[in-house]
Symmetry: C2
Subunit: 343 residues, 2 copies
């Protein structure tokens, strides 16, 4: 029998808090009964009320853990770290630190989550700063991209560390033996780019990672790389730009289909096809970004995630627990560090 | 009567050279007879052969100007600058410098075009380095984005200069009195981002530009800003990422419509709608990036542009000549420099 995974959920995080987190938890538990134990961290009264509305109650595998505060979405990370010691976010992370939970998931303030997770859990030996990694759809399946905004200025060594973490993640969760790692740049030729990516490229070429060289932005959505590495500024812009393009395309498609009665009829007939197509690139199916490089598993959900999207983030946390992602990153770093010492 | 604009075309540039440039020139001339004079620069024999195939011949408004060399797409800019003095690209730029042409258009090697244009035409007073600017479709029309790759490392002052140039361009070609200028960042809050964008934001806030603050990547495709400013690394990644998303969406849509006979039939019926939709975001309609900040007008076409796309780049050059874009940028910079001296 597989061990039961315990996941702490920041029930107050995100745009609506318990209204999304509680039903998502109930659904995940229904689907994975016996496999998982969920801890809802936050305002006990609000959580229990939401449970009651769903005709549910706390039980052995759906525990309510009270926390008296909540981190606001626009709160400064430093102030949240200093003053919100009994916030749902902080307590969820504390539960991971103490070993009560195997992982935590939060849809709250990204900066505060990163600051608290670093402070409480600490980074792995050999990692300067954690990175945010998510998978994005590609024509071949998906691509892991990091960093997505935790580090707006990165050194070459940090880009190298991101590559190691991304490679371990792709190996662990996708069962790819030697994930193809590309370094995001403004061209594929070696002379392109700034000093940071050029030096990072040298570090990667000298490592035992399956480094495939520089890739351009479109590589994320093609079948070229399993992992795409970049600094957090570039990664965040790439992510948000992608969202913008997809939204604009959706806008124009809707506009064309609603032009007149005939086009509306065609749109109605095409609905099942369009729906099936939309499912393929549904951002909710990709919700859940991993904070990699920590001594523990922390998954960030989009603040505006709905039940389905938040449930997806919980599933990612469960998978990372099952695959012991931080231990694997640790082991890979150890071997790289030993290698360098030998050299 | 409007003055006749003279545009020099690098006929050897791009993936196929004269096979695209010559028919594009013939089409533009047909559409704008009396308004424009085009100079095809490159291998005379090849150009005239291509003209003959189109049942055309050189004439007063379609001049062939021989150049004995061509810049290769993968040639190092420094080497092209040094050794390709009789290349079609260089001669086309020289024609702008000497006043024979009002602007030039090339689908050739971007780095070489930038290096030659800077060397021959020089930058405007107050501009450190030129930027590459293109317009991208948005739900409201289009957005001008710069820099797209000319400058992989930018200072805050350069970002400010890009903002000035983008604002002047939007004002001139779109007749927007006070174009909304956004600075691309990883969040809209003032505390977000790296030092470069923070200082650039201060410069912009203190200027008389219509600066609307930090914007995220999706702002390019929404109706939020007329101009989005970023460094060339970030801009290039945003552009290529956008292309990748659009291609992936196209891939999945095609896949869904070709799933079986029924979906193929639905796809056939939906064809006019899908075609009209595709026209809206057709990258060919947006082909033609301006090299801004030079003492002359240079437009870069995509290397893989077809006739329609290349013709669009020629139209952009004609419009910028009509609107005297470099003179306007010069005037705006003069007034900003005077202002700073007064302060």
């Amino acid at each position: 029998m597989k061990a039961k995974r315990t996941i702490a959920l920041d029930a107050m995080g995100g745009d609506v808090g318990p209204d999304v987190v509680v039903p998502a938890a109930v659904n995940v538990l229904k689907a994975r009964r016996g496999e998982v134990r969920l801890i809802l961290v936050g305002d006990r009264a609000r959580i229990e009320q939401r449970l009651a509305e769903l005709k549910c109650a706390p039980e052995d595998d759906l525990i309510v853990h009270h926390a008296s505060e909540a981190v606001a979405m626009d709160e400064l990370p430093s102030s949240a770290l200093r003053s919100k010691k009994d916030s749902s976010m902080r307590v969820a992370i504390d539960l991971v630190k103490s070993g009560v939970a195997d992982a935590c998931v939060s849809a709250g303030n990204t900066g505060a989550l990163m600051a608290m997770a670093r402070f409480v859990l600490k980074t792995l030996t050999g990692i300067d700063r954690p990175a945010i990694c998510t998978s994005l759809p590609s024509v071949a399946g998906h691509t892991h991209v990091l960093d997505l905004g935790a580090n707006v200025d990165c050194t070459s060594e940090q880009l190298f560390q991101f590559a190691v973490m991304g490679s371990v993640l792709a190996n662990a969760v996708d069962n790819i033996e030697h994930p193809r790692v590309g370094l995001l740049n403004v061209g594929e030729e070696e002379i392109k780019g700034n000093e940071r990516v050029k030096v990072a490229a040298q570090l990667l070429a000298a490592s035992d990672l399956n480094y495939i060289g520089f890739v351009e932005g479109d590589a994320i959505y093609k079948d070229g790389a399993d992992v795409v590495v970049c600094d957090g500024f570039v990664g965040n812009v790439a992510l948000k730009t992608s969202e913008g393009v997809a939204q604009m395309i959706g806008h124009y498609m809707k506009q064309e289909f609603s032009r007149n009665t005939l086009t509306r009829m065609i749109g109605f007939m095409a609905m099942p096809v369009l729906r099936s197509f939309r499912r393929k690139i549904d951002p909710r199916r990709y919700n859940g970004a991993s904070l990699l490089g920590l001594r523990g598993i922390v998954v960030k959900s989009h603040g505006g995630a709905d039940e389905m999207a938040f449930a997806n983030a919980i599933d990612i946390a469960i998978l990372e627990v099952a695959k012991a992602v931080p231990d694997r990153i640790h082991a890979q770093l150890e071997s790289l560090l030993t290698e360098r010492q030998v050299v």
